[in-house]
Amino acid sequence: MNELKPSDFERAPSRQALHRISRPSLSYWQDAWLRLRRNRQAIFSLGIVMALVFFTLAGPWLWRQDPSTQLLEEASLGPTLGRKAVVVEELDSWSPEFADARATAWDRVQDLRVIGEPTTEGITLQWGPVEGAEGYAIYRTDRKPRGLNRLGLPLAEVKKPGQLSFRDRMNVEPRSYTYTVLPIFKGLEAEVYGRVKVAPRIALKLAAAQRLKAGARVGDTIVLPAHPFGTDSLGRDLLSRIIAGARISLSIGLLAPLLYMLLGVLIGGFAGYSGGRIDLAIVRGIDLVVALPFLLFMILFRIAFGVGPGESGVHAMVVAMVALSWPSSARLVRGQVMQLREAEYVQAARLLGARTGYLLLRHLIPNTMGVILVYLTFAIPSTIFTEAFLSFIGMGVVPPTPSWGSLCNDGIQSFLSHPHEFIFPAIFISVTVLAFNLLGDGLRDALDPKQRGSS
């Protein structure tokens, strides 16, 4: 048997140290951030959202092209990086060549040739006379014609007696064209055609060139501005239009949800906290607002605000969104607040004498914050979408101000021939909406207290 020592009867040391939590204490938000960080999709989306904000704010400084400057010479261009153009004189004083009465006429269109240098500002054709022809029809195609098939565009009929030349200025692009000239006999186009292939150079009229570069002279070669996303049907730079459009789309997309969430939180919080008859009255009020048709009210607000024809309806749009979209967030917050109000710790705080303000600030609002935040991230893309839709149908921004929706509307007109005018703005809408949705998804998982410590 061991001998007992006095020290054995001393008070044992506190074992508290063993209970020390090995992980650092984390607040709710720190914990949520940790979980969000592990969600790759959400972080990626957050990156996209931040990039978009950067794109919108810094875009106009980095990409210094004016979104409303038109250069018709460069209309409907696909993505390009600075084409080179030769400066030519104004060619307005062109007069057609007429046949010399003594010239021998042939039985078919012969000697069809290009006069001068063919440029995108004009291609001049000339040909020899055909015996007995009352006129000539000129066709142009950028494909390969087969005999009398696939002649392409019927450019003109030259009917002045003896006129044997024609100048084509109809949207000439720097590609290879084949011209077919057919003589007309008794109103019918004959088969004895002539044909010539032409590859015009890019050219710019002097006046247009001087707008781009002061002091440009005829014969100079100048570099046209680059258009990484191409241009629209009036030759406006699409990238700068998308940047300008982002400002409208994103600012409405952020402003409107923030405002109506705020309204919803206030009303819903008040209803949930008060309970009883006040709650009942507010909930019925919410039901009423839910039943109101958005588009109709949008139009009513436009009239009420005196939005005249051709004026921007953006403020009416934001007001209509705020006035009609708050109920769902109010319902959400009301439910949360009602639940929290009855929670033991809130009851305990109240018993200990906490005042309403303290309860709201310390317990109720922080605990609903997660839900609100998640809801907000879902509300933003849907608002961007609504704005795009309203601008698409002409109820939102007015030209020349672009928004992503109105850009899509313009682009879809020429979707078959110039798809880039539609695809680029559409990509921006899609990516933005997707990024906000994925971010919202991630936030919802991260902010869910039930998942605390898991995963």
């Binding site: 038109q70 098939n149 392409g152 019927p154 024809p309 007015v398």
Partner: protein, 535 residues
């Protein structure tokens, strides 16, 4: 769990493919022509219709005293013969002209229609086209009752017209829609709903409307009561689509859902790529910007209008913005294709084009601002339609006027019907409008801006212009008429109540199975009444 879902999806897809193909092969094609229209006809009451869509429909379901044939000549319609003098005209109606309910078309039906058209209660915008008839103008102004109109039915088959003044182009008028007959008992039975639906119309033309789903579809069927059965080869004309969307129409044509396609600038490239056989014709219409002269509007100021004129380059606009081959840069009101005395009017009375001159334009602008006491350039309301070209034109001018003159344009885009209403009400500063000819005489354009014309939407009023038009309308002498109209044209071009922008050209194509489609500058276009369609 994945497979069954995919399998079901596959079956559904397959089923829908089969359904779609089934639908295609079932579609009847023999003697049936399929077309798409850009808009629904807003008004089928022939006394009130003004637009091309209504004109096209009316041209197929109604017939006037005369009609225009494939060669563009005036030929007998309901009238089988006529006699024209300086004082008036006598028409003899054919005995076999019938309404779609089988009753004969009588001279009284014309008397009733014409009286209705000039009745101030009808408030027809086209009342002016009846002004060659005695007392018509006085009746429109409410000074005489409609019964005083100079037209009488001597018997069921004889229609006598008395002229106000000698009229050199009356016969050309009789094929126009306002001159179409309306039967009184049917009209009154509709209680103001005449022309609003297929049951509210009585037909005497080669076709009748048998289906009209508003905003969606129309169907024309051959009118068995029509007198000239030999002329009509088609059994039906189907309008299964009403859409202003060019690319939608292009796809419909490509998918062989419609047989006739007009091409816009955007679809030209695709049409060339598809290898369509493209045709071109001068559609006849002249397009212009019309300024508002109602008091209080800044556009009343001539310096402003001059400034806008000198900022504008019609050739650049025609080639790069309109972009349809054959488009003629707008230099005047009377188009280049219009015949004058013996040659085209424009070659007999040449007009010099005013080019762009930015310095001069700015000088006019400065003078305008000084006169109006404006500190900065004003903003103006630009009323326009909803077509892609209308939008492109609006934004082109918006940028042009902003950069050259500093003017802000507010673009008011409206659907066709609403635009007409706003034009009528004068709710615009500048409206982009066009005018197609009603009959083959320069007068159809020249009298448009006479102060009494309802279609002078800007309410421009110029005494010497009015006097010259009156002079041209009071004689049958071609030389005097053409000279006065040319003088009026010069006043118009100097005063600039309008800025001509372009003369429209149409590029179109049709499917191989159809033939005999008539395109024309004057009258209902396209005219399908003599077309035929194979399987």
């Amino acid at each position: 769990m994945r497979r069954p879902v995919h399998a079901i999806l596959g079956t559904v897809l397959l089923a829908s493919v089969v359904l779609i193909q089934g639908g295609c092969t079932k579609r009847e094609t023999r003697d049936i022509l399929y077309i798409a229209m850009g808009a629904e006809p807003p008004e089928l009451n022939s006394t009130k219709a003004t637009d091309t869509e209504s004109g096209m429909v009316l041209g197929h379901v109604m017939e006037g005293l005369t009609r225009i044939n494939a060669a563009g000549m005036q030929v007998p319609g309901v009238a089988e013969s006529w006699k024209l003098t300086d004082q008036g005209a006598v028409f003899t109606l054919r005995p076999d002209a019938r309404w779609s309910d089988g009753r004969p078309v009588t001279a009284n039906d014309f008397v009733f229609a014409w009286r209705t058209a000039v009745d101030p209660k009808t408030a027809s915008e086209y009342a002016f086209i009846l002004f060659p008839i005695k007392n018509a103008e006085a009746i429109v102004q409410g000074r005489l009752p409609p019964t005083q109109l100079g037209v009488a039915a001597r018997d069921d088959r004889t229609l006598a017209v008395t002229f106000e003044k000698p009229c050199g182009y009356f016969l050309a008028l009789t094929s126009f829609q306002t001159y179409f007959p309306i039967r009184e008992d049917f009209y009154t039975a509709q209680q103001g709903r005449y022309g609003s639906d297929k049951e509210n119309l009585l037909y005497n033309g080669p076709f009748k409307l048998t289906q009209w789903i508003h905003g969606a579809a129309l169907r024309f069927e051959k009118n068995e009561q029509y007198w000239d059965q030999a002329r009509v080869k088609l059994k039906r004309i189907e309008v299964p689509y009403i859409t202003a969307d060019d690319s939608a129409r292009f796809n419909l044509f490509k998918d062989r859902k419609i047989d006739l396609l007009g091409l816009s600038k955007n679809s030209l490239d695709d049409a060339v790529r598809e290898g369509f056989r493209l045709k071109k014709f001068a559609e006849g219409s002249v397009w212009f910007l019309e300024y508002n002269f109602i008091s209080g509007r800044l556009t009343r100021n001539k310096n402003l209008r001059k400034a806008i004129q000198l900022s504008f380059d019609a050739e650049e606009f025609a080639n790069k913005v309109v972009g349809i081959p054959g488009t003629v840069p707008g230099i005047s009101l009377i188009p280049g294709w219009m015949q004058g005395k013996s040659a085209p009017f424009r070659s007999e009375y040449p007009v010099t084009a005013v080019g762009r001159d930015i310095e001069k334009a700015r000088a006019y602008m400065a003078a305008f601002m000084k006169e109006e006491g404006l500190g900065k350039a004003p903003s103006l309301v630009w009323l326009t339609g909803e077509s892609p070209l209308a939008a492109r034109e609006a934004e082109y001018f918006q940028n042009l006027l902003k950069t050259v003159l500093g003017i802000e344009l507010k673009i008011d885009k409206q659907i066709f019907k609403q635009r007409l209403a706003k034009m009528m009400a004068g709710e615009f500063d500048i409206v982009s409008a066009g005018w197609g000819p009603d009959y083959a005489d320069p007068m159809t354009f020249a009298d448009l801006f006479a102060s009494w014309n309802e279609n002078n939407r800007g309410k421009w009023k110029n005494a010497s212009y009015d006097a010259l038009i009156r002079k041209a309308q009071a004689t049958t002498k071609a030389a005097v008429r053409m000279d006065s109209m040319a003088a009026a044209e010069r006043i118009l071009l100097d005063e600039q109540p309008i800025l001509p922008t372009y003369e429209r050209s149409v590029i179109y194509t049709h499917s191989d199975r159809v033939s005999g489609i008539i395109r024309r500058s004057v009258g209902a276009d396209p005219d399908l009444s003599e077309a035929s369609a194979r399987e």
